[in-house]
Every structure is written in structure tokens, then in C-alpha cells.
Amino acid sequence: MDTAPVQKQFTFLARRSPYGSGHARAMLDMVLATAVFDQKVTLIFLDDGVLQLQRNQAAAGIGAKDLGAALGVLPLYDIQQIFVDGQSLQLRGMSPQELAIPATVCDSARISQLLHESDVVFTL
């Protein structure tokens, strides 16, 4: 018996710095896996998560892979809904013009709305 594929809105809140822990890398894996299963994916960078978007990361010296470069695969998985919290950027002295990948700068009200529109929300 055929069943229609279930498609849900998954929202991911990336809140951790790129190399301070394994959280950021794990979240990217979750995001890509979700996209592979043809689900609707929204990715939001918030708090220290915005540091993942810093340009010119060169992580070979600490034995890690560049997370900024890894984020470049998101369009290949057809992930277009990428948001970054403007206040988090500002607090960390980052400019929206200097991000590793294009992301829509938004405010907390917009993030609140995105969360409301989600079926499933993951925070990592």
C-alpha cells in the first residue's frame, strides 16, 4: 500500500561556536540528513552560533575542518532558508557583510514567528 510522503517543517537553532565543542558540526550533520529526506529545512544562527558564519576560518592548525567552508554545501542540499540574528552579530562585533555564506539578517520577532511555523525544532 502506498502512503504519501510526509513532509514537515524542520527548524534548526544553531547556538554554539564552531570549535569550542562538537555541537556545531553535529548540527550541520543533522541539517544535511534532514534535507536528504526531502524535508523543509530552516536554519537559524543565534547567540554564539553566529560565529560559525565568520569568514576566513583556517582550522587546520587546531586539527579541525573549516566549519565555514562546510556550510558552503547548504545550497547543494537545496537549503535556502538561512537566517542570522542581527543582535547576536552586533554583540560579537560581526558585520552582516562579512559572513561565510549568504544569510538573511532578522530580529527576534522574526525568529519567534519562524519557530511558530515549525513542526519540529532542534537546538544544538
Binding site: 561556536s17 564552531p18 570549535y19 569550542g20 547567540d47 554564539d48 587546531i62
Partner: protein
């Protein structure tokens, strides 16, 4: 007698740097490592807010951690020096004791 202080988290989500600065004394060295690197951008403002004269401290950052986080040595304020892993070891040897804020 001088002390080497290492800090590994940014000041905006931990009070490690503030705690360290409160007890650090003039001949000491502050070495920013791991996510402590991000304090480069906020150190001056934090020190001003705490009314601590950090210009008496020698301030260093671990270069590999700096580069990993997308910052360049050329972006560092003039009073902050980048050191490599060997430089880290040299700092440990040069100071009487090390205090790790983590």
C-alpha cells in the same frame, strides 16, 4: 613572581575573563585560547566597565586558535601578541605559576 592566566571562553557568555582580570596583577600575562580568542574584540570594553587597567598586563593569543576562528594577526590591537604552540610552552616556563580559567 608573575602568573600566566589562560582564558578559554568569551566574556559575553561566561564570567571567566572578568574573574581573571579581577585577580590578575601587573606583572602577569593573559593568554587567550580556544573560544577565549573572541575576547580580543571585547576586552577593552570589559576592562573599562570593570575599571581594571589592563594595559599593565601582557596579553597574548594562541595563533592557531585565532586563525581557526577567522581572525588574522593583522586585526589584533597593537598591545596583543600572537604566540605559537612553542610560545605557549615558553610562557608557561617563564611564569612562576599558571592559572587556567575554564
Amino acid at each position: 613572581m608573575s602568573t600566566l592566566h589562560t582564558v578559554n571562553k568569551p566574556s559575553w557568555n561566561s564570567d571567566l575573563l572578568a574573574s581573571c582580570l579581577r585577580v590578575a596583577s601587573a606583572a602577569d600575562t593573559l593568554l587567550l585560547i580556544e573560544d577565549g580568542i573572541y575576547n580580543v574584540r571585547t576586552l577593552a570594553a570589559l576592562a573599562a566597565a570593570l575599571e581594571i587597567p589592563v594595559n599593565q598586563l601582557q596579553i597574548c593569543v594562541l595563533r592557531d586558535d585565532l586563525l581557526a576562528r577567522g581572525m588574522a594577526q593583522s586585526e589584533l590591537p597593537a598591545d596583543i601578541t600572537a604566540v605559537d604552540q612553542a610560545g605557549f610552552v615558553a610562557l608557561v616556563c617563564r611564569h612562576q605559576q599558571s592559572v587556567h580559567w575554564f
